[in-house]
């Protein structure tokens, strides 16, 4: 089995169960694969392996939901999103009165939006990496919806919000992961 296939299997399983259990399950699959290779062809055993992995996903996904892992991720992402909106509104209310220019205000809006999301992305990733990813998706989806409703803003501004929001969240999450690696 190629190292990339093995890495992909491991990545799928680690998304669905604790790492130690994922290791044991992958070990079981590899052991049975080896046994089957003694009697069957490489192609049929590869088919069996992927069928096993694919048919395991629903049960493991449900077990993961029961374990509450998904709930914590979703709650963390939503709470981070609400916190980011709060921080952004606070920063904007402090900084916006300093200028009367519409374009400067728009830039301030984008910058505060980015700063708030980077901070919340950092915190979300510290709790759960999946929460930061979900937060980036939430930001993208909500920004798309907001822009679809209100089309009065200039194109450069809409485009910036769409790109800057998710990127700032991912930047905050990346910083969190990098600092954790440096410290631990």
């Amino acid at each position: 089995m190629s190292p990339s296939t093995l890495a992909l299997s491991q990545r799928i399983l680690e998304r669905l169960m604790p790492p130690a259990q994922a290791e044991a399950l992958l070990g079981d699959l590899l052991e049975e694969r080896r046994l089957r290779l003694q009697a069957g062809s490489e192609v049929s055993v590869a088919g069996w392996y992927w069928r096993q992995l694919a048919s395991s996903v629903p049960a493991l996904l449900w077990a993961s939901v029961r374990r509450g892992a998904w709930l914590i991720t979703v709650v963390t992402a939503v709470a981070s999103f609400i916190a980011a909106i709060g921080i952004q509104m606070l920063l904007q209310s402090v900084l916006s009165p300093m200028t009367t220019s519409k374009s400067v205000r728009a830039v301030v809006m984008i910058l505060t939006f980015a700063a708030a999301l980077a901070a919340c992305g950092y915190v979300a990733a510290s709790i759960r990496l999946g929460a930061a990813r979900l937060l980036a998706f939430l930001v993208f989806a909500v920004t798309c919806a907001m822009l679809a409703i209100s089309t009065r803003a200039p194109l450069w501004y809409e485009g910036s919000l769409l790109v800057v929001g998710p990127l700032a969240t991912i930047a905050g999450a990346t910083l969190s992961g990098w600092l954790r690696r440096v410290w631990l």
Partner: protein, 110 residues
């Protein structure tokens, strides 16, 4: 007896497989035992999810074995039945036995 004490059919099958295998009960052997004895195809994920549920209920316990080369250096996770598991399995099997008792005439067996 409270309703929660009865085991589901897959839970019973998994526990019986663990019991049969004894010291050799781990994911792969449990899965193969079920397939061989029931003829029912089952995914390794379903076996693990069921065992995790049984472990949370205190019916089985697990421990990590030594890593082996045929598993790519990965350790086995062994399972064994706890006293509460034996009780729950007895209760479920007795319930089925009591319900099916005296039905031999009406039961159209395949």
């Amino acid at each position: 007896m409270p309703r929660g004490d009865f085991l589901g059919s897959l839970e019973q099958i998994v526990m019986l497989a663990v019991m049969r295998l004894g010291a050799d009960a781990y994911g792969m052997t449990v899965r193969r035992e079920i397939e061989e004895r029931t003829g029912r195809e089952i995914s390794i994920g379903a076996v693990y999810a069921t065992l995790e549920r049984l472990e949370a209920k205190g019916y089985v316990s697990s421990f990590t074995g030594e890593p082996t080369a045929e598993r790519g250096g990965r350790a086995k996770r062994h399972f064994e039945i706890e006293a509460a598991g034996h009780q729950a399995l007895n209760a479920s099997q007795n319930a089925l036995k009591n319900m099916s008792e005296g039905l031999s005439r009406r039961w159209k067996r395949a």
